[in-house]
Amino acid sequence: MKTIILAAALRLFFPLFIFFSFYILIRGHNHPGGGFIGGLILVIPFIFHVLIHGAKETQEKLFLKRVYSLRRKEQESDLGYSIRNIGYRLRGLIPWYSRQDKDRVLVKQYVIEPLHIIPVGLSLSLIAGILPLFLGEAFLTGVWAKAALPLIGKIGTTLLFDIGVYILVSAVVLKITMEMSKS
């Protein structure tokens, strides 16, 4: 299924799906949608990526993070190098601003393993449950902030809970698809 058109289309749809899924998550409290549906939508482009490129490549492209440093110039002072390097590292955090310098060195690389995201989702939901306990409320009570945010609306622990669901569902589905595709 390695078609160029699909691959190109996917690149286009990637941010779209991500934003759409987030939109579904946020509006879920008042309209059809919610963390679960949102999470499923979030993984759609990833699944397509897996289907098109295979799990190995998906991992390589989407989940492999590399951290680079600049190569040290000759006779450069420690201080100067450090300043330059920190600047470079900071720029590296912004995806579209990172420079493909030739004189960089790979410091370390790590794979973002969906498995490690699973407990994050679980603990977010759990925290949403435990927080109200400290406010003297029952477990999993919805506690709401006084002020409302623009676009998102009122913020409450239920939203946090739903975000936990969202993260977990996407991580789980991603993990399952990637494992199945790998084997």
Binding site: H29, G35, I37, F139, T158, V165, V172, M180
Partner: protein, 775 residues
């Protein structure tokens, strides 16, 4: 008295430790324990003889009425003294017999445990407490029989003994529970007062039969006697203690104990009498045929137990008193003879009477003990055995009914006793024969001949001076069984010339004749094999084999390994239960014409799409032989259902259903090439059967649905959520509010399931033996 029990248990469990500390001197503390107990019980002699039973109570599980309630009356005291005094001798004997055995500590553990349990049995006043100790004796007996656990014989015999006695124990348990229900009390002293009510109670018959079963199995009555000869696989001290002097008499004790409460009726007397007499005759007959020393003794024990039980069955005051005397006499000589047999075995390495000759010269003290006890066994004046036998004969002779057959049976048993006694006391020790004297490995040490000798001397002393020694306590025991009119017994060696004396002389003469013709009896079994093949011993193995095979067959057919049978069975059970409930509750009548009309009414045109999509898809998916089409059609069904959710106001559900269905299809596609290709495996008949079953199942579900839906649903949840969703939970999408607020706990569980599923899939796909991980 509870501290006696506790001390016994503690010392029992200390025995292995003591063995490690003291080595072969472990016998010293182990002998001191029963000695101390004996001394303790002796302090109760005077109050008990004065007619004041001692009653002590300690609560254990009062919620169930199970307590340690100890009663020391004549009967209990008699048995307690018997058990502890024999305990002293056997513990000492065992120390010498098993000297150097590395598991001696364990042996003492079991033996002490047994002794303690046995004391518990005879002093318990609470019938459930009695049951507890009763079962403990079975278990410790099991452990003792299987002591030489290397040998298959020991293991099999131990199992047999355990099964029979424990089976009886369970009967006893049932009987005692019923007795407790009938009398609304668990105390023997109270139940005795309720005798008239108990006799009239509906439960009387089952109670009596069940208790008898318990007693008969324990006391090796025909046809349950088979375990006792096999139990001789145990080390000899065990045989001497458990299987002749004490444990097997627990059944006799039980019957005696319950006589004042339940006895005296026809069913009680005749059943016990018949079983006892049969056992006495069968045991005696089989004893004559044995060649093995311990087997001979085992069968005579069975016979003696039969005689004891017969006396209880006769039930007259005199017979009951005679029973006590004979019991003591038997314990004395049989315990001694077992120990002698053990010593002989220990010294020569064989127990085969045909290989044992002229042992008297090399082991004079042992021979003396043997002579004393076999004379007692044969019932020769002036030994205590003589008094016992006289009373036994008299009891049978004067039985209120069936005196004649009973007497014949008992006398037959007596004849066998004489013959056997001659073989033991004379045959292997002194009889001149063509053979050389049997070689003796090493001369027995005092610990091996002193205990039997003491017992033999006791038999003589008790015989000469019965009234100075044992009569009072026997009388007290008689009072506990037979009531106040008993207790007047005066034991004496000489009763004058009467029919009983005639019978005794006849017995001795015939016994000598039987001894002379020993060979005839011992070669008989060859001719009798066929008879034995249908005897209870063979029957036990037959049942065991059959039931093992049956169990295997049943298990094989129930747990067949065929998954579809499992599923079919479950579904059939389900259908059966649901339809059964519908018929039982007359629910088919509830469904009226209106229900059906309602079911057909107001379908909108576009809703037919659902059916049009679903019906062919469903049929197709179950018939197709293409994997891809199967997946596609299944997704189609899923989408149709999603459509239904949209039609009926469930957009969230529809979206989820749609996404999940797609995702499932994707997962399938991902592994499709690893999945088996489809083909039809089923046979035509199986196909027909499963179509039928499936149809009935589907129809049942549909029927239940129709039935439920005919009533209006007034859901308070729906109403409440409708009101509270926006005002209190601040969300307009009620479904989502339920998921993240009202019932968020469910959702927490749900995501946990997902997480675990991901972990599981991860491990399934990455961890398997072929992958090189050493499991």
């Amino acid at each position: 008295m509870i501290f006696i029990i506790i001390a016994g248990l503690i010392i029992a469990f200390l025995a292995p430790l003591l063995h490690r500390l003291l080595g072969k001197f472990i016998a010293v503390p182990m002998v001191l324990l029963p000695l101390g107990m004996f001394a303790y019980f002796c302090t109760f002699i005077s109050p008990v003889l004065a007619g004041q039973p001692v009653l002590q109570e300690h609560s254990w599980v009062p919620a169930l009425g199970v307590n340690f309630q100890f009663l020391l009356d004549g009967l209990g005291l008699f048995f307690a003294l018997l058990i502890t005094s024999f305990g002293v001798l056997v513990m000492g004997y065992a120390g010498s017999y098993l000297k150097g055995d590395e598991q001696l500590g364990r042996f003492y553990l079991y033996l002490t445990l047994f002794m303690t349990a046995m004391i518990g049995v005879v002093i318990s006043n609470n019938i459930l407490g009695l049951l507890v100790f009763w079962e403990l004796t079975s278990i410790s007996s099991y452990l003792l029989i299987s002591y030489k656990h290397k040998y298959e014989v020991a293991r099999a015999s131990a199992l047999q003994a355990l099964l029979i006695t424990n089976g009886g124990g369970l009967c006893l348990m049932a009987g005692l529970i019923l007795l407790g229900i009938a009398g609304d009390s668990y105390a023997i002293t109270e139940l005795v007062q309720l005798r008239p009510e108990l006799l009239a109670h509906d439960f009387y018959l089952p109670v009596v039969l069940l208790i008898m079963l318990g007693a008969f199995t324990k006391s090796a009555q025909f046809p349950f006697h088979v375990w006792l000869p096999n139990a001789m696989a145990a080390p000899t001290p065990v045989s001497a203690y458990l299987h002749s002097a004490t444990m097997v008499k627990a059944g006799v004790y039980l019957l005696a104990r319950f006589t004042p409460m339940l006895g005296g009726t026809e069913v009680w007397n005749y059943t016990i009498m018949a079983v006892g007499a049969t056992t006495a005759v069968v045991g005696a007959f089989l004893a004559l045929q044995q060649l093995d020393l311990k087997a001979i003794l085992a069968y005579t024990t069975i016979s003696a137990l039969g005689s004891l039980v017969t006396l209880i069955g006769i039930g007259s005051t005199f017979a009951l008193e005679a029973m006590m005397v004979f019991l003591l006499a038997h314990a004395l000589y049989k315990g001694a003879l077992f120990m002698i047999a053990g010593t002989v075995d220990h010294a020569t390495g064989t127990r085969d009477t045909t290989k044992l000759h002229l042992l008297g010269r090399r082991m004079p003290m042992l021979a003396a003990a043997a002579v004393l006890s076999s004379l007692s066994m044969a019932g020769i004046i002036p030994f205590f055995g003589f008094i016992g036998k006289e009373l036994l004969y008299e009891g049978a002779f004067e039985a209120p009914s069936y005196a004649m057959p009973l007497t014949i049976g008992i006398v037959f048993s007596g004849i066998a006793f004489v013959a056997v006694a001659m073989r033991l006391g004379y045959g292997i020790f002194f009889r001149k024969s063509a053979h050389e004297a049997t070689a003796i490995g090493h001369a027995p040490e005092p610990g091996l001949w002193l205990p039997p000798l003491l017992l033999g001397i006791a038999g003589l002393v008790f015989g000469l001076l019965p009234n100075l020694t044992v009569t009072p306590i026997l009388n007290a025991a008689g009072v506990s069984i037979a009531g106040a009119e008993a207790g007047q017994l005066e034991l004496a060696l000489w009763h004058g010339f009467n029919p009983i004396l005639l019978l005794t002389i006849l017995t001795i003469l015939l016994g000598i004749v039987a001894y002379v013709f020993t060979n005839v009896f011992t070669t008989w079994p060859v001719h009798l094999e066929r008879l034995y093949n249908i005897g209870p011993g063979q029957l036990y193995y037959f049942f065991k084999r059959i039931s093992a095979r049956g169990a295997k067959g049943l298990t094989g057919s129930v747990q067949s390994g065929y998954l579809r049978y499992y599923v079919a069975t479950i579904i059939i059970t389900f259908i059966f239960l649901v339809i059964g409930a519908i018929l039982q509750e007359n629910l088919y009548a509830v469904i009226t014409r209106d229900t059906w009309i309602k079911a057909f009414s107001e379908i909108r045109i576009y809703e037919y799409i659902l059916l049009i999509l679903m019906v062919p898809a469903t049929i197709y998916v179950s018939q197709t032989n293409s994997r891809l089409i199967a997946i596609t059609t299944m997704s189609l069904i899923g989408y149709a259902i999603a459509l239904a959710y949209i039609f009926f106001g469930a957009p969230d559900l529809a979206a989820t259903q749609f996404l999940i269905e797609t995702l499932t299809a994707v997962l399938f596609v991902l592994v499709l090439h690893k999945l088996p290709t489809l083909r039809t495996i089923k046979t035509y008949r199986a196909n027909l059967a499963s179509i039928t079953l499936s149809t009935v199942f589907g129809a049942t579900m549909a029927y239940v649905m129709v039935m439920v839906r005919q009533f209006p649903l007034d859901s308070e949840l729906k109403a409440y959520y409708g009101e509270a969703s926006w005002l209190e939970a601040k969300g307009r999408n009620i479904v989502n509010v339920i998921l993240v607020d009202f019932r968020a706990f469910d959702t927490l569980g749900e995501i946990t399931v997902l997480a675990v599923a991901a972990l599981g899939i991860f491990s399934l796909l990455n961890l398997y033996p072929e992958k090189g991980d050493q499991l």
